[in-house]
Amino acid sequence: MIRLLSIELDKIKRNKAAKVIVSVYFLLIIAIALIASIEFNFANVNFRIADQGIFNFPFIWHFNTYVAGILKIFLAIVIVSMMANEYSYRTLKQNLIDGLSKKEFIFSKFITVVGFALASTLFVFLVSFVLGMFFSDHTEAIVIFRDMEYLFAYFIKLVGFFSFCLFLGILVKRSAFALGFLIIWQIIEGIIYAVMKWQLFKDTELADKIINFFPLEAMADLIVEPVTRLGGVRTIANQVGEEFSKSYAVNWYTVLIVAAWSAIFIYGSYKILKKRDL
């Protein structure tokens, strides 16, 4: 396993473009701290984000994993191209001829992706922890380490998303088209939802239930948006007569759905590779 990981890391760390994007990705996670300085006017009320308690423990775990989750598209570029490049350089063929089995090849990509997810999760933990120590109103251990399930959900979310990227890379064989396909897939899920919601299962909750089983929707569901949880936003909403009554918790079944999709994507990649003549 260490052999496979080191083979894969060699391929990435010598690729300048990949190195730049990975560095930018981690820098952007640090840049979450800059959110503290954002100010704006909303409904004639002056907002300073930092005053809204976004960096309070334990809320910061939810907020930062949600924001960092948006940045995953940067790593997706690296992951899609690390798969698609093997096709365009024809090194996949050479790797197999040199004695890597197809199973080892897929496994080496998968553990790299898990490594990325793990590194990102650790990094988000550290950044959030430091930010929290600076800005949080409460810094007692019992408060700090509450709601850690958001970090777990973040990790699962990344593994799921990156597995999808690997799968697309191997399916489409070209990085640009694979990334395009990713966007198209997001639109397809939207259309399927719309058709179910307003045509097939009109006036029922069925569409909302079914869409939860789709890969990208399930990944999005893992960490619900945290904005409407903020005190200030709630106050304003109350003033205009709105009330938010949704659950912000990490659901075990969503974790399960995303884990299942990850397994399907990785196994699917292996099946495609096995069937294909190179």
Partner: protein, 302 residues
């Protein structure tokens, strides 16, 4: 003798097209084999199957007596397929070190390999800047990293300039002289003739001949003759059981021998029949002619 690779009734179909059709042969240790066939005859597909990158439709193959799984066996094989494939953004040395990791070989082999193909001074240059000849030499260096029991080369001189071809052939000959088993696929006859002791001739996916290069055609050669009385010569030749096919080629008569006969006894024989030859040449077919003969026969029987 130790069998390195055994191929039995291997078949590969792409939809309706049969790329490899019921091919069988064995590779024994220490010999140099050629797979000869025109473009599209199934050479690369056959190699692709035994190298784990193309799925077979039916038939079987086994490496080293079937004791190892294919990908484990491939660690003891060195192979270059068509085009040299490396990571363009890595240097020659980095690429070879990566192959070392895949094959499970110590890194110090890299220098040794680069020396064989004369690329030591370019080892820290990126692969993408290499000329085709250098890329092909790097591919050979990569194939030699594990000191393979068999070296498989698919069209190693394809697309190279004469100097590049000369370099690659020199390297192959040196490797063969060390006793390494080689399997060389090529559509170039003289390449196979110069290097190989055994040959497999493929055409449209079928194997036409498997065996030693010098036994490829069992014929005893042919004679080209000319004289003043051509009809009489033809008549004499046709009535003699030592001759098979007799054809007229321009001003000459070409007769294929069915038995061993040297030119002087033929001359004597004809003279006794009242024919004095003005032209007499006895030749054996070159590999090229034998190859064309072999492939022609299948076209006509189809």
């Amino acid at each position: 003798m130790e069998t390195i690779l055994k191929i039995e009734n291997l078949t590969k179909k792409y939809g309706k097209l049969i790329a490899v059709n019921d091919v069988s042969f064995n590779i024994e240790k220490g010999n140099v084999y050629g797979i000869l066939g025109p473009n599209g005859s199934g050479k690369s597909t056959t190699l692709g199957i035994v190298l784990n990158v193309v799925n077979k439709t039916s038939g079987d193959f086994s490496w080293f007596g079937g004791k190892l799984s294919t990908h484990e066996a491939l660690k003891k094989v060195g192979a270059i397929i068509e085009h040299p494939n490396f990571y363009p953004y890595m240097t020659a040395k980095q690429n070879l070190e990566l192959v070392c990791k895949i094959k499970g070989v110590a890194k110090n082999q890299v220098q040794k390999s680069l020396e064989i193909v004369d690329l030591l001074d370019r080892q820290d240059d990126k692969f993408k800047g290499f000329s085709l000849g250098m890329k092909q030499r790097l591919a050979i260096a990569s194939a030699l990293l594990n000191e393979p029991e068999i070296l498989i080369l698919d069209e190693p001189t394809n697309g190279l300039d004469p100097q590049g071809i000369h370099q690659i052939r020199g390297i192959i000959k040196r490797i063969a002289a060390n006793g390494t088993t080689i399997l060389l696929a090529s559509h170039l006859l003289d390449e196979v003739e110069k290097v190989c002791s055994h040959v497999v001739v493929l055409r449209k996916g079928k194997s036409l001949y498997v065996g030693k290069v010098d036994e490829m055609n069992a014929s005893f050669g042919f004679v080209t003759m000319q004289c003043d009385n051509m009809p009489l010569l033809k008549e004499v030749l046709s009535s003699h059981k030592g001759f098979g096919k007799i054809t007229e080629e321009g001003e000459y008569i070409v007769a294929y021998l069915n038995e061993e006969m040297d030119a002087s006894s033929l001359n004597k024989l004809l003279f006794e029949k009242g024919i004095s030859l003005s032209h007499l040449v006895k030749r054996k077919e070159s590999l090229e002619e034998q190859f064309l003969e072999l492939t022609k026969n299948t076209t006509s029987t189809k």
